[in-house]
């Protein structure tokens, strides 16, 4: 099989953004991955499904993978029907697969054969090793067991271990970090995540198509618009619904406000972690102004439930005219604050060289989103695979080459500026008309996929509708899956006291990852 042979097996499931789907035998899994890897493709997500209740399924289980491949193909979703719940590991072709494969075992019971790391990942002690929550026969709950997790130990003269978390000193999400250090220098960091696993994918299966949107918007609260849009896109694909143009433009406005909101918050918090409280006060004030205007326009400070399948929940109407003035004020304040940050020697000293992720390592790990762009990779779904209205907005991708905290700060500044430009264009050029196209209440079984560039990186929702629009399987993928392993590398040779700063410069999601 070569690339042409591989693509011949695919059928297009969406034109914008481009997406294709194909079914392959398990013997073709590794050859297909190698072809995709050498063609410059990258792994977005990997997950499992239990097909024993689907009438026309050829096998009891299936493995699913989503890839991004060049501008011509876009998103490629491949399904591998499995007679037995096992498949050959692909960790050596795509290192990002490693944790996803472990999660696919914990949740769906599919084992990756020949994987060097078969430890549990999302499972701690809430269910036993022989039970798989996403299998259809799984029910009820189990007494909690202790989480005995074999961390990798580093031996050597003067090496000591510092375990941190799951509960941290500040107001952040829970996770465990185990540092091996000599003096203050970090030799190794091992992450243990999964503390906030709350059964999101299983929960979807008990909800209807419309209620599913509320849950999607709470997978990672800071990315509620990105997730709700990806979910809506997937439902619209699966049901053949076309949302009105005005709704798509409003979604883009909400997404760009979410991006600016998070970047503003991070620029303040990163500076604060470098000892510059002035930055936190200023940026948190701007962020609050943005949140209050969100509330005035949508009825929710974070725009939760503003995006719904078929369109958007409400139309801000005349209130949109304020967006132009608001953007102008933010632009002026941002320029002032950027000059202050740039001129502050102490701040720049802490930022430069800290937490460096080289472009080559970022590429190898399959790092995505903001962190990839700060390590020199010009990738952004809004420009690479634009759907309406991004195909009319001429997005400029922001990048920086150094891969350090300073680069992630610089990309945030540039992306806020670009978002503000988009706010303005959207407010001025948004088409008129309705904002909601009803979803058919009783659609036939179908697959759907949604893929959106959230502020942190690409968010994916892939779903299978069963009979009468039931959510048979919903998989949600957060960009943090790719980027958490990168943090383990970025802190090496830094000092432990710089960890909060470096961690904040990535600002990854625990909830979006833990599901």
């Amino acid at each position: 099989m070569d690339l042409a042979g591989f693509t011949a097996m695919l059928q297009t499931i969406s034109k914008a953004p481009k997406a294709a789907y194909g079914v392959f035998e398990v013997s073709k899994l590794r050859p297909a991955c190698s072809i995709l890897q050498s063609a410059g493709g990258r792994l977005i997500a990997l997950w499992g499904s239990d097909e024993r209740e689907s009438l026309d399924a050829p096998c009891p289980f299936a493995l699913h993978l989503a890839f991004a491949l060049g501008p011509t193909l876009g998103l490629v979703w491949i399904a591998i029907p499995l007679e037995a719940p096992e498949y050959p590991s692909i960790h050596d072709i795509f290192p990002a697969a490693s944790r996803m494969q472990r999660a696919a075992f914990d949740l769906s019971g599919l084992s990756a054969i020949n994987s060097p790391d078969a430890r549990k990942w999302l499972r701690h002690g809430a269910w036993p090793q022989e039970a798989f929550p996403l299998q259809k026969r799984f029910s009820g709950s189990f007494p909690i067991e202790a989480d005995d997790y074999p961390f990798v130990t580093v031996e050597g003269d003067g090496v000591s271990e510092i375990p941190v978390g799951p509960v941290h000193a500040g107001t952040i999400e829970p996770g465990h970090f185990r540092f091996s250090v000599v003096g203050e220098k970090v030799l190794r960091l091992e992450e243990r995540l999964g503390y906030t696993h709350k059964g999101i994918e299983k929960r979807f299966e008990s909800l209807g198509m419309m209620d599913g949107a509320r849950l999607a918007g709470r997978i990672s609260g800071d990315s509620t618009v990105a997730y709700a849009w990806a979910y809506a896109m997937a439902i619209e694909r699966a049901t053949g619904t076309t949302p009105p143009q005005r709704a798509l433009w409003l979604r883009a406005l909400w997404l760009e406000r979410e991006r600016a909101m998070n970047h503003l918050g991070d620029l303040g918090a990163i500076a604060n972690d470098a000892g510059f409280a002035f930055g936190l006060a200023q940026f948190s004030r701007l962020k609050e102004d943005l949140l209050r205007e969100n509330f005035a326009m949508s009825g929710h400070r974070y725009l939760m439930d503003a995006v719904v399948p078929g369109g958007v929940a409400g139309d801000p109407g005349d209130r949109l005219v304020h967006v132009v003035d608001e953007a102008q004020r933010f632009e002026a304040e941002l320029d002032e604050l950027k000059a202050i940050y740039d001129d502050h020697a102490g701040l720049q000293d802490r930022f430069r060289g800290a937490g460096r992720l080289s472009p080559s390592l970022a590429a190898r790990l399959g790092v995505v989103g903001l962190a990839a762009r700060a390590s020199g990779k010009a990738m952004d779904l809004r420009a690479d695979f634009p759907s309406s209205p991004y195909d009319q907005l001429d997005l400029k991708i922001a990048t920086a080459a150094e891969g350090d905290v300073a680069a992630r700060v610089a990309v945030r500044f540039a992306e806020i500026q670009e978002s503000l430009r988009l706010w303005r264009i959207i407010a001025q050029r948004i088409p008129s008309g309705s904002v909601l196209e009803p979803i058919p209440p009783d659609p036939p079984p179908a697959l759907g996929v949604g893929w959106v560039e959230g502020w942190r990186g690409e968010v994916l929702i892939a779903l299978a509708l069963g009979n009468h629009g039931a959510l048979a399987r919903v998989h949600a993928h957060d960009p943090s899956w790719q980027n958490w392993p990168a943090l383990e590398h970025a802190v090496l040779d830094n000092i432990v006291p710089d960890f909060p700063l470096i961690n904040k410069s990535f600002n990854l999601s625990y909830s979006g990852h833990d599901l």
Partner: protein
């Protein structure tokens, strides 16, 4: 430095008035004596615990520190260890994977102590409910004094919940 000072002067003072306590938010009654509450009321130390939230409740807890909400002026500050805390502010449904950490944090907090559950998830389990992975509301795991609904509750609503927990019951107005 000059630019920083200019920006501070130009920004001015942004803080707004605090909300009033609301008796309807109270879950447990008659827990702590008036004298203890008055002592907390002068300087309250809060430890936040995310027991499994979606992280939007954290966004609002962080927003409480912005210049519009005069937290320090109310005598409220956040501390890094439960050993120094008077009040635990708990977000999320309690995931089963966080049950132990939450109970340990509660036990490590010295008596007398208060617990405020923040957000619909903490109040009733929210959209995640109870499942193989989620224990639902915070009160299913540790005693809760005040529960603040909202998804997420606004900074003002969270401050109101904290003030309600601090206020002797007779003095709050429903």
């Amino acid at each position: 430095m000059e630019n920083i000072v200019k920006k501070i002067l130009k920004t001015g003072i942004k803080s707004e008035a605090a909300p009033f306590p609301d008796e309807r938010l109270r879950v447990l009654r008659g827990r702590l004596s008036e004298a203890v509450l008055r002592r907390f009321g002068r300087a309250l130390a809060i430890r936040h615990v995310d027991a499994g939230s979606c992280n939007a409740c954290e966004l609002e807890i962080n927003a409480m520190h912005n210049p519009y909400y005069n937290l320090e002026g109310l005598g409220i500050h956040f501390v890094a260890s439960p050993r120094h805390a008077d009040l635990l502010l708990v977000t999320g449904p309690v995931s089963r994977h966080m049950e132990l950490a939450l109970k340990r944090t509660y036990e490590a907090t010295p008596d007398p102590k208060l617990v405020v559950a923040c957000g619909d998830c903490g109040v009733c389990g929210g959209i995640f409910g109870e499942s193989y992975a989620s224990l639902g509301r915070v009160a299913n795991v540790i005693p809760v004094d005040v529960a603040v609904p909202g998804c997420p509750p606004s900074p003002n609503a969270i401050i109101q919940g904290i003030l309600t927990a601090l206020m002797p019951e007779a003095e709050t107005q429903a």
